[in-house]
């Protein structure tokens, strides 16, 4: 009896999606609700939580350090988008050229950095961007006669180090995404364009870029998310969550600082909810503009 019920065509789909429903309810909905609730509370060690209305949120709006964190995260996200979408796309097209020598080797070497953990990669970059004369970056600068720099103590150079780390790790992965997109573009399109006398650049702009749109949307979505939620990279690069003048502080870093380092659970929860809203708004706007939902329906 039970067996027949479970095996019926009506019930089977629910059995298939059950694991997701459980995980969603237990590990997402419940914690999200308690985060939301906490964001309206003042929580003190060993005492009952007090409801304080929107106090946490109004305080956030004037919190300079928080605004700085938002600024850093937003700048980092925008710059990673600017670097990590066009360049990997270009590399993918070039490496896909039939005249390319050693294609497999280059694909692999571009992919290598993604195999290292952030802990390892961040430590390597921290030591490379060290301020000692002998560190890698400073010894390169010395070749051009530029004095040693304190990379990780200044806003601009600190951001460069963060971007270098992101670019190094993700160029290869994004390139592979685009390569997979390229596979879906039929060769006849290019042949037809060639007959019409289109230049390589025209072909790239008129055929490749538009037809890679689905891949680009996917990469864009995950990059927005990854950019706004970045934390461990900064933590490893500065060997902690306290960078000079907070140049490496991100939104999640601030959440971590308030909630875990300073025991302000309620305030940290508010930071989390603001981050959630920002991510949602940006991504939903982006998806609405690029028309993913239209296609889904």
């Amino acid at each position: 009896m039970i067996k027949r019920f479970l095996y019926s065509q009506k019930v089977a789909p629910y059995v298939f999606v059950l694991p997701f429903v459980l995980v969603f309810a237990i590990f997402w909905v419940y914690p999200l609700i308690s985060s939301f609730q906490m964001s309206f509370q003042k929580i003190t060690l060993g005492q009952e939580a007090q409801y304080i209305g929107f106090d946490n949120y109004t305080k956030l709006m004037t919190d300079k350090t928080f605004l700085k964190a938002i600024g850093n995260s937003a700048l980092y996200m925008v710059l990673t988008l600017v670097i990590l979408i066009p360049f990997p796309m270009l590399f993918a097209v070039l490496i896909n050229n039939r005249l390319m020598w050693g294609r497999e080797f280059f694909k692999s070497s571009f992919f290598f950095p993604a195999l290292t953990s952030v802990v390892v990669a961040g430590t390597i970059f921290r030591l490379m961007f060290g301020e000692m004369d002998g560190s890698l970056m400073n010894s390169i600068l010395a070749l051009f006669g530029v004095g040693p720099m304190k990379f990780l103590k200044e806003h601009t150079t600190g951001m460069i180090a963060l971007l270098a780390l992101a670019t190094w790790r993700w160029t290869g992965v994004n390139m592979l995404y685009f390569l997979s997109g390229l596979k879906n573009i039929p060769d006849d399109y290019y042949e037809a364009a060639s007959i019409d006398g289109a230049s390589s650049f025209q072909k790239f702009m008129k055929i490749t870029v538009p037809l890679l749109k689905p891949t680009s949307i996917y990469v864009l979505t995950i990059s927005i998310y990854a950019g706004l939620a970045m934390f461990i990279e900064s933590m490893m690069l500065w060997n902690g969550n306290n960078s000079p003048k907070n140049i490496g502080l991100t939104i999640v870093g601030y959440l971590y600082r308030q909630g875990i380092e300073k025991n302000n659970l309620g305030y940290a929860a508010a930071v989390g909810i603001v981050l959630l809203l920002i991510t949602m708004i940006i991504n939903l706007t982006q998806l609405a503009f690029t028309g993913l939902f239209k296609k889904e329906d």
Partner: protein, 279 residues
């Protein structure tokens, strides 16, 4: 195109990629060199490319293999955790994705929007409530605490669903005609077709799992349960001079994945590129 022009394009392309690869590989070279140098050297001069035989030796490697530390425990933990996590996540996510793609049922759209939403919720904002939850479930310091929250991974479900949408419904109908049960169809007919997409997702999930840091770090507090990234991070403290082990350990943590990667290079790249993202 003329022969000579073709050749010029070839050479330009090649040189361009050699230069880029050079920049990508430099950090690896620097780590490799540093693995042979004493940690003190590293702290004093930073990471650099100096190939100086006078300060280089196998001491760090000797220490790695014979010293009194937990490195290989961490390494083994990471390996097991990665394998278990990847296999379970793939199996379960594929099953869920099949449910979404093969059937029309009440609440399907709502549930699928939930999948999309999860992809946009930064996991980090859940750290504290999730920590409490895991504790109340009595799962602190277990690998279940790491595996369970991610076992139905939204991105993986999304990817599989996209992949499955390319599979003709007739196949499923034919299965029913042959008398297969709903689950039989999935196991016997669909799973085998999904093989290429499994490869791609195995790589992505495997990378994530091998490198995962923040959440495992929060729930694991016993040194013998640490994974490699956590273990390596514990070496980064001014209160214990551990740079010797840190760098050689980092070097060695990259090495096996490289070997695996080079051995299965074709599957890696093909798997990644096969799973085309269809909009």
């Amino acid at each position: 195109m003329t022969k000579s022009r073709e050749k010029a394009v070839r050479i330009c392309l090649f040189i361009f990629f050699v230069i880029i690869s050079f920049f990508i590989l430099v950090p690896f070279y620097a780590v490799t060199i540093s693995a042979f140098k004493p940690g003190e050297e590293l702290v004093r001069y930073g990471l650099n490319l100096k190939f100086d035989l006078n300060v280089m030796s196998f001491d760090n490697f000797v220490y790695l293999f014979t010293g009194d530390h937990a490195y290989f425990t961490w390494f083994f933990n990471s390996l097991i955790l990665t394998i278990v996590q990847v296999v379970l996540t793939l199996l379960i996510s594929a099953t869920v994705a099949y449910g979404f793609s093969a059937y029309d049922f009440r609440g399907k759209n709502f549930l699928f929007i939930c999948v999309l939403l999860i992809m946009m919720v930064p996991f980090e904002i859940l750290l504290l409530p999730l920590y409490k939850l895991i504790f109340n479930m009595n799962l602190m310091n277990t690998y279940s605490a790491i595996i369970l929250p991610g076992i139905a991974s939204a991105a993986t479900i999304f990817f599989f669903r996209q992949y499955l949408s390319g599979i003709p419904k007739e196949l499923i109908a034919a299965g029913r005609v042959d008398g297969a049960t709903e689950y039989g169809i999935y196991v016997r007919l669909i799973l085998p077709i999904m093989k290429p997409s499994f490869a791609a997702m195995a790589i992505l999930n495997g990378m994530n799992s091998w490198n995962n840091f923040l959440w495992p770090f929060m729930v694991l507090s016993n040194e013998n349960k640490y994974t490699l990234p956590i273990g390596l991070k514990t070496l980064l403290t001014p209160y214990g001079n551990n740079y010797d082990l840190l760098i050689v350990g980092s070097f060695f943590s990259i090495l096996p994945i490289f070997v695996l990667f080079i051995a299965f290079q074709k599957y890696f790249i093909d798997g990644m590129t096969a799973g085309a993202v269809k909009g």
